[in-house]
Symmetry: C2
Subunit: 319 residues, 2 copies
């Protein structure tokens, strides 16, 4: 009997590497993980990854025909990881070249947010859509932009960095070296910064005053907001306003059918989406009102990264 065709989906994070093997429909046949941080040497890392993945493929009794990798600052065109702040490998890492040699199948790489967008397009909320924007509101803000059914890579391969649109010139210091980027406001860390600012500006009583800033998290702020904490509620309100302006600006750019939210901050649900809708009504240009929806990723968090990278492999395979 012929073995079924399978795809590897690999997500390289600063702390952990997660991978899985899927069929064409996104059914995960096997998955596993190990610590990225244990391998300061990239060549040893990739050998370990390839060996373990190939073992899993053999055990699953499938025929791997392609692999997709999502990694910070990974470039689809060059196949390299370049200057990724959260990874310990220095300089240019020849990710695709190295993995193709070790896996002996075509490998495609892109950054994690682009992979997430492909995952939504093939398996998730964006199924059947040709124009949408994926926004992952995590520690930072990642984005993947799809127009006319294709990811926007731009001239450099690094397009789709909506976390780094400048919202407030001269605003909050950003990890990118500039100031006032979206991710300093509309991310899990951004809402912590907003809360700290509001604790200084507002006199309202708040349970959040009892915590040092280093212990504040978006989850703690969400819990306080659920209990009616005025500072926490205002923090969500302000975060939603910044996000709404950024979305309104993205909409006049590429006129998507949907904005798909994912990541830790998006899990706050209505705390974020109710004020977000209010501000979208205010900031969306008239001619685009009612032309797009804000959706939440429905892929299980534990599988989204694998499915996104596998979707990259599948979309390359189908080309």
């Amino acid at each position: 009997m012929e073995k079924i065709k399978a795809f590897a989906g690999i997500d390289i994070g600063g702390t952990n590497t997660v991978w899985g093997i899927t069929d064409l429909t996104g059914k995960i046949l096997a998955k596993s993980t190990f610590r990225t941080k244990d391998f300061p040497d990239f060549s040893k890392y990739s050998s370990e990854l390839a060996t373990r993945l190939l073992t899993d493929v053999e055990k699953a009794g499938v025929s791997m025909v392609g692999a997709g990798i999502g990694a910070p600052n990974a470039n689809y065109f060059t196949g390299n990881i370049e200057k990724a702040a959260n990874l310990s490998w220095k300089g240019v890492v020849r990710l695709r070249e190295d993995m193709e040699r070790k896996l002996k199948v075509p490998v495609a790489v892109t950054n994690d947010a682009n992979a997430a967008a492909l995952g939504e397009m093939i398996f998730g909320e964006a199924k059947g859509m040709k124009d949408f924007i994926m926004l992952t509101l995590g520690t930072g803000v990642g984005s993947g932009i799809v127009t006319d059914g294709k990811l926007v890579y731009g001239q450099t391969g690094f397009a789709g960095e909506l976390g780094h649109v400048i919202m407030v010139p001269g605003g909050r210091e950003c990890g990118c070296g500039r100031e006032g980027c979206l991710e300093t406001y509309a991310s899990a860390t951004g809402i912590v910064r907003t809360t700290c600012q509001l604790l200084a500006e507002m006199n309202a009583e708040s349970s959040l005053r009892n915590l040092p800033p280093t212990e504040l998290t978006s989850q703690i702020i969400a819990e306080a907001a659920t209990k009616g904490d005025p500072i926490a509620l205002e923090a969500f309100n302000f975060t939603a306003e910044m996000l709404a302006i950024a979305i309104a600006n993205a909409v006049v750019f590429s006129s998507p059918e949907a904005i798909i939210l994912a990541g830790g901050l998006a899990k706050a649900g209505e705390l974020l989406t109710v004020p977000l809708q209010k501000y979208l009504d205010e900031y969306t240009m008239q001619s685009f009102k009612g032309t797009f929806r804000v959706l939440h990723s429905a892929l299980p968090l534990s599988e989204a990264a694998i499915l996104g990278s596998a979707a990259l492999a599948i979309s390359e395979y189908k080309k």
Copy 2:
């Protein structure tokens, strides 16, 4: 002898309609114009346009195989003009349908800024580029965005409205009904507004204090700046800063190879481009520095609109 294949390029403006007939290389074989405003009835307008155009085609002895039309708020997908503030025809104008019936060749329509972008791609500064953004800094700010060799139309056909990214929430009133849009700052009218504001804020002597705001134009401000007028110079400086932030934000979105400037304000040349470059150095995200150029449209102004619309016809013909 077989007649050469020719294309009509039509630009519908609020005041005038301009058209021309070109060959595949963009050589203009005939051109003409009449007043849009003389025809409050669209059907009479389009009949006049078709009759005159077909007469020109016959006189030129060519075989017209397609027509392209650039018009405010014209939608590539529907072929209609919808709610164009500067045109007297009310409701939905079935532009493509009507013109195809009267011209008996395939007709494609899009908005004027998109047509300008296609003109640059086929005949102008963007020849050979797959990723660039056209910005026309006129009375308003129009834009056409090309990624991977194709215009971004989005789900609605109305994508690419960079004149309406919100730069300053709660800022200047915009014609679109919102506040703080790019075109209230980085347009020919925007720099007039900036100058009025600076005349109030600054004490410096300025020849511009002798003019009522209604007589101020971007050209007068440019002339004053050339003579060293401090208010005029600061107006260009501020305009350049707003434009640089908008460009830096567009660059993280689609990572273009070039930004191509056109329109009245762009004619100010170094008055705009010298401070623009300074602010681009400040606001561009590190990973995109050196990856794009700012260029000026080199198409003769009298021909750019015709060539843009003809380029639309040609790109449809080649599909």
